[in-house]
């Protein structure tokens, strides 16, 4: 039974793992081009396992920023994980031990969280370990490949790879947004707020990380008032 959960989770993680490869490849390229040794580029991916945060942090290392600035910027970009982790705490089976939770927490990325939270029913630790292992391997190996190949890749191709991460985000949100009007409204609302915060001069003091947090809380908060879920039992039965 447990073996099956792991296998099922692993299968669900394969598309994420494959999608991570071009993104982490780009990271490996960028890190080594900027002057980091290959092992450190790989070490960053293996210990951080995040996109936006480690890209930003690494850029700050290149800019010789201080420890505090690096830590604070990375933290702000990553605060959104608190919402995801809180949301997952409601989906994870209550019997999962603290030690296992410490490992599961390490694997909470945007994509892993999205896939896990769209499953029906409670999630077991084996499922989560299965789900996390593929993307972790893809992220680390992609970085290694990018770091080693580094200069051999034409610039047009390495530039084009920058869109990979966002392509994956789109692949995750569009199908449910197509089926549920409330999800579509919330996605659009979050985008509108995010654009407003980014382009309106009075909000220019807000950093990218906080922008995402404010947009998320506002859109999901207003959405929960406008489109309440009918019954807790089936999250899929959101008001259409």
């Amino acid at each position: 039974m447990k073996q099956n959960h792991f296998k099922y989770g692993f299968r669900r993680g394969i598309p994420i793992a494959l999608g991570y490869i071009p993104v982490s490849f780009t990271f490996g390229l960028m890190a080594v081009n900027g002057g980091l040794p290959v092992w450190l580029a790989i070490f960053i991916s293996a210990t951080n396992l995040t996109s936006a945060g480690q890209f930003a942090g690494t850029n700050l290392i290149f800019a010789s920023a201080g420890y505090f600035e690096i830590a604070l910027t990375t933290f702000i970009i990553n605060i959104r994980y608190m919402l995801m982790s809180l949301s997952l705490s409601q989906k994870i089976d209550g019997s999962v031990t603290l030690l296992k939770r410490l490992f599961i927490g390490f694997g909470v990325t945007d994509e892993i969280f999205s896939v896990a939270s769209m499953e029906t029913g409670k999630l077991s630790a084996s499922y989560m370990f299965g789900l996390i292992s593929g993307p972790f391997a893809g992220w680390t190996l992609g970085t290694a490949a990018g770091a080693l190949i580094c200069s051999a890749l034409p610039e047009a191709l390495s530039n084009a790879m920058g869109i990979a991460l966002y392509g994956m985000f789109i692949a995750i949100i569009i199908p449910p947004a197509r089926k549920s009007k409330s999800v579509l409204c919330i996605v659009l609302f979050a985008i509108v707020i995010n654009c407003l915060l980014k382009y309106a001069p009075i909000f220019s003091f807000i950093s990218a990380g906080f922008r995402v947090i404010i947009s998320t809380i506002t859109a999901a908060g207003v959405g929960a008032v406008l489109f309440p879920m009918k019954e807790e039992s089936d999250a899929k039965e959101v008001a259409k």
């Binding site: 995801m84 390490f106 920058g162 199908p175 489109f227 309440p228």
Partner: protein
């Protein structure tokens, strides 16, 4: 390089803490239907805000990025997998970057 290494350790810590804290500490089932609905909507809102408008500046050139976004939306609308959508977007950006 020691300085970079310490910075990386700090980055890893501030990435790990927000991820693990609620999951490890918060065990109770949330009863409020409002908060439940809110948490259900979070992933959609987060991914929307992460993607737009930043996707347009993800490739170093606006027009190929717009083309890539269009293809990604189209492929996702027809429920293609994560990999197909991501690769379709990369390929579109790569090919159209020679036009603009």
């Amino acid at each position: 390089m020691t300085k970079a290494f310490i910075a990386v350790i700090l980055m890893a810590l501030v990435t790990y803490i927000p991820r693990v804290l609620p999951l490890a500490v918060f065990r109770k089932e949330i009863r409020s239907p409002y908060i439940k609905t809110f948490l259900y909507y979070v992933p959609y809102a987060v991914l929307g805000a992460l993607t737009f408008p930043d996707i347009f500046s993800s490739t170093g050139n606006l027009y190929p990025a717009i083309c890539g976004t269009g293809i990604a939306l189209l492929l996702a609308y027809f429920e293609r997998s994560l990999v197909v959508v991501a690769l379709g977007a990369i390929l579109t950006v790569f090919l159209t970057s020679f036009l603009f």
